[in-house]
């Protein structure tokens, strides 16, 4: 790919655009100013720290005594949790899932004998447990499903059935009362097909379904799940759109929904993506180009769902 003409034209074009005059002096001067502020701030902090340390020492003694008396009688050391585990593709209850509990360090919660504390879901996919109030979350294992570790205590967990190695699944969940939609576009040979609530499956040239919307939800509490395959030389883009924000003109902002997308491939978890504070009613979450995954994370606004890329 030499393309000498393009190379020469592009170089000429780049150099025809002037860089800001004195940008180097501006940058160096901004750096000097920042370093000077940091240095003054450090001296002030050192002085404040010295005085604060003395006062803190006295307070700690008094507080420690009071806290010990209080903690012995008042703080809850355990908490009761209950939740339901469901299949992310059809919302059916997952019976017999084994749940253990892990903390942020990955340490398993054990009982006095050293055995892992475990519970199992009943026929309705429900389970309860009493666990220490120390930041433990459920880790869910069920036959035929991809293991799942929650990042916080919730009422519902949606887990993905195992798939073929080449199959992907994106599960969208969110927390606020609004209508979010999962969108998938597949571009191949210059042609783009889109999948969403209005067009819930895409087929390839052989008539095989290569992408499907498993579940559609108009409110939080239920996931939206898309299962898809990556064909060679294709570009796949997964986006989340706020249908509520589109209809009501941003009263239910996408970035306030705590939307999260969990991406699986085969029997593995590839990633968990969380919406950031940003403007726009569309969040492009990731792209997969020729099998290479990239968390694209771009935010923009559209006037109609058909404008989503």
């Amino acid at each position: 790919m030499t393309d000498l003409k393009f190379t020469n034209e592009y170089k000429r074009s780049v150099e025809s655009i002037a860089l800001p005059r004195n940008y180097q002096e501006n940058i160096l001067s901004a750096i000097d100013e920042r370093k000077s502020k940091d240095s003054q701030s450090s001296k002030t902090k050192a002085r404040v720290y010295k005085y604060a340390l003395s006062a803190a020492a006295v307070l700690v003694l008094l507080f420690g005594l009071a806290f010990t008396l209080f903690a012995m009688n008042k703080l809850p050391s355990e908490m009761q949790i209950s939740f339901k585990v469901s299949n992310a593709t059809n919302l059916s209850a997952v019976k017999g899932a084994r749940i253990v509990f892990v903390n942020s360090n990955g340490d398993l919660l054990t009982d006095d004998t050293g055995e892992a504390v475990e519970v199992f879901t009943n026929d309705n996919g429900e389970a309860q447990a009493t666990i220490p109030n120390e930041g433990y979350v459920p880790h869910i294992d069920a036959e035929g499903y991809i293991p799942f570790t929650a990042d916080k205590a919730e009422d519902n967990y949606y887990i993905s059935p195992e798939m073929n190695e080449d199959t992907y699944r994106a599960v969208l969940t969110w927390e606020t009362e609004c209508d979010l939609d999962a969108h998938l576009s597949i571009t191949k040979d210059g042609k783009t097909e889109k999948l969403h609530y209005f067009n819930s499956s895409i087929e390839n040239d052989k008539g095989e379904v290569i992408a499907a919307l498993d579940t559609d939800s108009e409110t939080s509490g239920y996931p939206e799940t898309i299962t898809f395959n990556c064909e060679d030389n294709s570009l796949i883009r997964f986006s989340v759109a706020s249908y509520s924000a589109l209809k009501e003109d941003s009263t239910k902002a996408l970035s306030d929904t705590s939307a999260q997308v969990t991406l699986y491939r085969g029997e593995k978890l590839l990633g968990v993506y969380s919406v950031q504070k940003s403007k726009g009613n569309v969040w492009c979450v990731f792209e997969i180009e020729n099998g290479e995954l990239e968390a694209y994370s771009e935010y923009y606004s559209v006037g109609a769902m058909t404008e989503i890329k």
Binding site: Y10, P20, Q24, N26
Partner: protein, 158 residues
């Protein structure tokens, strides 16, 4: 001035123009590009890395700029096809439209095109800079050129 700061100043003199233009492919705005270069210099002063050569130093700085720009992009509202703002001094010359057209592409394409055609990096070197595979670089170059053709026609291509 500390020795790190002096080194950073020299690096800016040597590589500043390149860094500004790389940042510009992401930000489409010279003021934001200047901020990115400033942050990259601060990291240079803070980390004080050792370099085998000037090219190694430049590649390190470009790598830092790419990471800073990505973080900057994910935290702010951006349209995919951002237009140049009035703040930019654009030469009133037909060929400047080519740079503008490249910068209006999604950053994943504009960056590989810029690094390949302007900075002269090989696909292998670009893959290292962007932490992607060589085949991904090749695909992005092809796709980027294809998008450019749709935008501006075939005039600039052999």
């Amino acid at each position: 001035m500390s020795s790190n700061a002096l080194r950073a100043q020299k690096a800016l003199q040597k590589h500043g123009d390149s860094l500004m233009r790389v940042a510009f492919t992401y930000t489409n705005n010279m003021y934001d590009a200047q901020d990115m270069v400033q942050e990259a210099l601060l990291k240079y002063i803070e980390k004080a890395p050792e370099f085998l050569s000037s090219e190694h130093e430049k590649a390190w700085l470009i790598r830092v700029i790419i990471n800073l720009c990505k973080n900057h992009m994910t935290s702010a509202y951006k349209k995919t096809y951002a237009e140049l703002t009035e703040d930019i001094s654009v030469c009133d010359n037909y060929s400047s439209g080519l740079y503008e057209a490249v910068c209006s592409l999604p950053s994943k394409y504009s960056l590989v095109i810029h690094l390949f055609y302007y900075e002269g990096y090989s696909q292998k070197e670009i893959a290292k800079l962007m932490k992607i595979t060589e085949s991904a670089v090749s695909t992005r170059l092809q796709r980027g050129r294809s998008l450019l053709r749709e935008k501006i026609g075939d005039d600039f291509f052999d």
